[in-house]
């Protein structure tokens, strides 16, 4: 990085990797990056172990080895949707749910950690005055900002992908044990729950969302570099105020729709639409990376994120400890 080009009287100098060590530093300080997914994964495994007594039965029904007796449906939307399926399809779907849910839980955990991490990233060091120590070392403000940005942009998504994969493997291994003990082939499960496909689709979705949400990450970091207190309020209030102002002043809601699209719309372009709706189909053929990358909104968001990070570096240079 900053390996010197000049060689003054060559006293002992060793090669340095400021970016690499700054990222390591972030992981030392913010152990929630891996502890939170670990904790959530532990809960999921326990719940799955508890629920696995019904696994063999579900596999038999889904595979047509057992005809399900008509069961009284629970009230509610999910039950109504399930009512349209055959018992076998319903059982097959039940087999998929743990894998989808564990992926979703890992992603939600990573996103939550990312929000709090980004909001504290350049605020905490000013608050506890450690910024004076970090600035006493030959690491530029830009290197520091980038080393912090890489956590929500790359490390947390990677943690989500890897931990979901590990969870899938653990659930599969346990399922294989349970099914073998019941005299069934573990392969039957994979017929209904294509775990590998689920994981690849999940990894692709997480990577897409990390890029799609990059401007949000940039905004949160910008607030953390700028605010003197109450970072969360500063992050949330201005966008909402703009929406409210637009609504009251012009009676329109473009800002609100824009925000909503940014928060919830990330995967619309990333996957092909399915006729069955959500979770209806699991196939790698639905992945549309080129369509996703061709979306100007994605690149607009990334440009905004880059501008935010540049502003973070500019601010970090000037802001005093709080």
């Amino acid at each position: 990085m900053s390996a010197s080009t000049q060689a003054p009287e060559a006293p002992a100098r060793h090669p340095v990797r400021p970016f690499y060590w700054s990222v390591r530093r972030e992981l030392w300080e913010n152990r929630a990056i891996y502890l939170a997914p670990l904790a959530v994964a532990g809960v999921i495994v326990l719940a799955f172990l508890y629920a696995s007594h019904g696994l063999a039965r579900e596999v038999r029904i889904a595979s047509g080895l057992l005809v399900a007796p008509p069961t009284p449906l629970a009230a509610g939307k999910a039950a109504a949707a399930a009512a349209k399926m055959t018992p076998a399809a319903r059982a097959g779907f039940a087999l998929v749910v743990p894998y989808l849910a564990s992926g979703f839980a890992m992603m939600a955990t990573a996103a939550a950690v990312g929000v709090f991490y980004a909001l504290g990233s350049l605020y905490g060091e000013r608050r506890d005055r450690t910024v004076l120590f970090w600035k006493s070392l030959p690491v530029s403000d830009l290197t520091t900002v980038l080393s912090k940005a890489v956590v929500p942009l790359a490390i947390l998504p990677a943690v989500a992908i890897v931990s979901a994969g590990a969870l899938h493997l653990i659930l599969l291994a346990w399922s294989a044990l349970v099914l073998t003990a019941s005299g069934l082939s573990p392969g039957l499960l994979l017929d209904h729950a294509p775990v590998g496909t689920i994981w690849v689709m999940f990894a692709y979705a997480v990577a897409s969302l990390a890029l799609w949400w990059a401007p949000i990450t940039g905004w949160l970091m910008l607030v953390s570099a700028w605010a003197k207190r109450m970072t969360f309020l500063w992050a949330v209030t201005p966008p909402l105020a703009i929406c409210l102002f637009e609504r009251l002043a012009f009676g329109t809601d473009y800002a609100w729709r824009f925000l909503h699209q940014r928060l919830a719309g990330g995967l619309q372009d990333a996957f092909a639409p399915t006729p069955h709706g959500r979770g209806g189909e699991l196939s790698l053929s639905l992945i549309r990376p080129l369509q996703f990358l061709a979306d100007p909104a994605l690149w607009g968001g990334l440009a905004f994120a880059a501008a935010c990070l540049a502003a973070c570096a500019w601010l970090r240079r000037r802001r005093d400890p709080i």
Binding site: S2, A3, S4, P11, A12, R13, H14, P15, V16, R17, P18, Y20, W21, S22, R24, R25, W28, E29, D128, R129, T130, L132, F133, K135, S136, L137, P138, V139, S140, D141, T143, R317, R318, D320
Partner: protein
């Protein structure tokens, strides 16, 4: 080449003037004490030198503009702001790893050797260490950096006398080698007096006095007199006077020592007394007897 060269350094925060046109030259191998009351602009001056704050005027540190090149400058400058800035969550071993990883002139072995002389364990987190140990750790990190300039801003704040003494002893024995430059600002003026080569008194953003220690000794003298000699001593226009029991101590600037010697004992004034004399001239000093 001077280590620090400042011309007309000025810094304002809104209507408050923190630095009001400072000219300062610190040569290499000097140990400069930056002394002043709270709010005198010491920290602002040090921050400007370290590239932490922009300033009006010209400033060059080791030939660089600190504000424009803070990260490059920090390869040759080490600084300790005060004992509180080491992150509380970091482990001793992690602090060593990190500094080694980002600082090309950090000598890990030297830092380890320094820590071996203390009771600091590598696996401990900073929050588990006492204030004195945190200062020792910070010192170990800084001492192991082959820096040309070391800046210390109240480095011993909140430490007890034993640690303060050990801190400065270590500074002299392990860091200072005659080529390196040290700038230190502290309220414990008398404790660092013996290590300084240069002194700058700051008051309200201006330099009140800038001199080498030899110049100070030549220029200022303190006279201890008994009450019967006091009127005669006051007549010679001391800049400061204080009384301890039945003796009065008067400080003179540029006075003839022969005249003074007849009245009582002469000695070099302590920096603290000189500081008070220059920055807050006691009304009694000029009062006619």
């Amino acid at each position: 080449m001077a280590c620090i060269e400042a011309r007309g350094l000025r810094k304002t925060y809104g209507a408050t003037v923190a630095l009001d046109g400072i000219d300062l030259t610190v040569g290499e191998g000097r140990i400069l004490g930056l002394i002043g009351p709270n709010g005198a602009g010491k920290t602002t001056a040090l921050n400007a030198i370290l590239g932490l704050t922009p300033c009006e005027g010209e400033l060059s540190v080791l030939g660089r503009d600190p504000w424009a090149q803070r990260d490059r400058l920090m390869e040759e400058v080490a600084f300790i702001a005060d004992v509180a800035v080491l992150p509380r969550w970091i482990r001793v071993s992690q602090a060593l790893d990190y500094v080694q990883g980002v600082h090309p002139r950090f000598d890990r072995d030297a830092a380890e050797a320094f820590l071996d002389r203390t009771s600091i364990q590598r696996g401990r987190r900073v929050r588990e260490l006492s204030k004195g140990m945190v200062a020792q750790l910070h010192l170990a990190l800084v001492m192991a950096i082959d820096a040309r300039l070391l800046v210390l801003d109240e480095p011993t704040l909140g430490l007890d006398i034993l640690y303060r003494k050990a801190f400065y002893d270590t500074l002299l024995s392990d860091f200072f080698d005659g080529d390196r430059t040290i700038v230190v600002s502290t309220h414990e003026v008398d404790e660092i007096q013996h290590i300084l080569t240069d002194v700058v008194f700051l008051g309200r953003g201006r330099i009140v006095l800038a001199a080498t220690v030899e110049e100070l000794e030549a220029r200022f003298v303190e006279l201890a007199v008994r009450p019967e000699q006091l009127p005669a001593a006051r007549a010679l226009e001391p800049i400061h006077e204080r009384q301890v029991f039945d003796r009065s101590f008067l400080i003179y600037e540029g006075a003839r020592r022969d005249d003074l010697a007849k009245l009582g004992e002469l000695r070099s004034p302590g920096l603290a007394d000189l500081f008070v004399a220059k920055l807050a001239p006691a009304p009694g000093a000029r009062r006619a007897a």
